[in-house]
């Protein structure tokens, strides 16, 4: 039946069958992966409630992730603040609206640019790291060794890492936002002689709870997505060194895509409640 439909499609639409079949196979494996990721996420929520709570490992992961990403997030935030202000300034000057610069930059960084750029940087830094670390542990049988020793590897490795990314990303975003705003202030100070107090007064006057709260809430989801995808890719890594590389790479690609989807959903929901 399926075969006859495909043949019919080929005749009517003049479809290149091998290519069409290839697309179908890829779609099927993508859907299977989504299903497996959903199951993995459900297992995370089941395991999180069970004892023992690996608090020591959780704190170690929080420290590692925050500490290792802080410099990168700071540098990225600073450059984003500089570039955004430098590129927007001429346009605002043309309209005589350069005094709106702190409000505009403040809102755009807090609402959107800060969270998404920090999340993308962390997806590359933390997500790939988790994928490669768990992948190499799977390939070298360290996860099996953990299980044989009576420790639940899912709880010890996955739950702690996902919780750590979920808790640390909002903090990294706050740091990234602050540094980006400072970068923007530096440009304004040099080019427009605006004082620190005046600049940040204007930024905070422009910001409302409707800007800060939804933007902060979505960063928890960003952190969760980075952790869960990185862990999923690493935990079910294919055998061999090639598998580890693939796990790290696909963790970044899949997470980046997921971040934009989450961002879209978050903005959509925010629009309903806060009327942006």
């Amino acid at each position: 039946m399926r075969h006859s439909i495909l043949v019919h499609l080929k005749v009517v639409l003049q479809i290149d069958m091998p290519k069409f079949s290839n697309i179908l196979t890829q779609l099927k494996s993508f859907l299977i992966e989504i299903g497996e990721l959903s199951y993995f996420t459900i297992r995370f929520f089941k395991e999180i409630l069970k004892r023992p709570f690996e608090l020591k490992e959780l704190l170690r992961q929080c420290y590692n992730m925050g500490n290792r990403s802080l410099l990168l997030v700071s540098i990225t935030g600073f450059i984003i603040g500089l570039v955004l202000t430098l590129q927007t300034r001429p346009t605002l000057m043309e309209f005589g609206a350069v005094s709106w610069m702190p409000s505009m930059v403040g809102i755009s960084i807090v609402r959107e640019i800060g969270p998404i750029i920090t999340a993308l940087v962390c997806a590359g830094r933390i997500g790939s790291g988790i994928g490669a670390e768990l992948g190499s542990m799977r390939v070298t049988e360290q996860i099996d060794a953990m299980e044989v020793s009576g420790t639940n590897p899912f709880k010890y490795l996955v739950v702690t890492r996902v919780l750590a990314t979920t808790l640390m990303l909002p903090l990294l975003v706050i740091v990234g936002d602050a540094i980006a705003l400072y970068g923007s202030f530096l440009v304004e100070n040099i080019k427009g002689n605006v004082s620190f107090m005046l600049y940040f007064n204007q930024v905070f006057n422009a910001l409302e709870f409707g800007d800060i709260i939804p933007a902060t809430i979505k960063t928890f989801f960003f952190g969760f997505a980075i952790g869960i995808v990185g862990c999923f890719k690493g935990y079910y890594c294919d055998k061999g060194t090639e598998g580890v590389g693939k796990a790290a790479n696909s963790a970044v690609v899949f997470t980046s895509l997921l971040l934009f989807i989450i961002d879209f959903i978050a903005v959509f929901i925010t629009d309903i409640f806060y009327k942006i």
């Binding site: 670390e133 190499s136 542990m137 070298t140 049988e141 360290q142 099996d144 060794a145 953990m146 299980e147 044989v148 020793s149 009576g150 420790t151 639940n152």
Partner: protein, 253 residues
């Protein structure tokens, strides 16, 4: 034959009956049977890909068998829940083929790791430091306590992995290719170490290997895993002089 009779008088600590496991159309284990007796060194030999590692992983619950029964110290592991299985695992040591040391932890932390879940076994006042030092001294690596696994050679890694296996004082030790990837001298050292441990602790050992020298030195009894079944069972001298071409192929040097 005499050796076999002596062994059969002992208690069985591990028993596999009619074990089946397949991956797709590939029947790796096709009705495998095995018995490990108290205090013996049993070697299971087979070609690469014959299902030795699959069988040993089914034993500790890392893989689920399709059918058959596995009884360890009179516990059917297929009927145990996770908690009971974890408790039983404290009495089973597993030496992995590639050592499987946790590479983000020092040697000390690697050895302390199994103790986290099995403190009850040693009572409330567990002296972790002493247990770690004793286990490392048993394998002659007390000085490596603060090194990272990346700073160890292949032989040292295998010794540390053995110390980690020993720290819970298991009754049964499963060795998955203990000499693979090692030079002949280090391999010999590991074999001697396994024998010493067996004498000192009186453990029952199941050794998976395709190393004939290892099998000759270490085995009390051997099983040849061919075509997914226990094709031949006996002592080394009997099997190595067998006329069966399938058995002969293993002992050709």
């Amino acid at each position: 034959m005499k050796a076999q009779n002596n062994i059969s008088n002992k208690n069985s600590v591990l028993e596999i009956k009619n074990l089946h496991k397949k991956f797709g159309d590939n029947h790796v284990l096709n009705g495998f049977n095995m018995q490990l007796f108290q205090g013996e060194n049993l070697v299971v030999m087979g070609k690469s890909g014959s299902g030795k590692s699959v069988m040993i992983k089914c034993l500790v619950g890392l893989m689920e068998a399709d059918s058959g029964s596995i009884s360890i110290m009179h516990n059917d592991i297929t009927k145990l829940n996770q908690k009971e299985l974890d408790l039983l695992r404290a009495d089973i040591g597993f030496l992995f083929q590639g050592s499987a040391l946790y590479d983000s932890m020092t040697v000390r932390e690697n050895l302390e790791f199994p103790l986290r879940r099995h403190t009850k076994k040693f009572g409330e006042h567990i002296d972790t430091e002493k247990l770690v030092n004793d286990a490392l001294e048993n394998v002659g690596l007390a000085s490596a306590i603060d090194l990272m696994p990346s700073e160890l050679s292949g032989g040292m890694k295998r010794r540390v992995a053995l110390a980690r296996t020993l720290i819970l004082e298991p009754k049964i030790i499963l060795y998955d290719e203990p000499t693979s990837g090692l030079d002949p001298i280090t391999a010999k050292e590991i074999i001697i170490l396994i024998q010493d441990i067996q004498k000192k602790y009186g453990t029952s050992s199941l050794i998976i290997t395709h190393d004939v020298d290892c099998a000759r030195v270490i085995s009390d009894r051997m099983i040849l895993l061919i075509d997914g079944i226990d094709y031949a069972v006996g002592i080394f001298s009997d099997l190595s002089t067998s006329k069966d071409p399938k058995i002969k192929a293993f002992f050709k040097q």
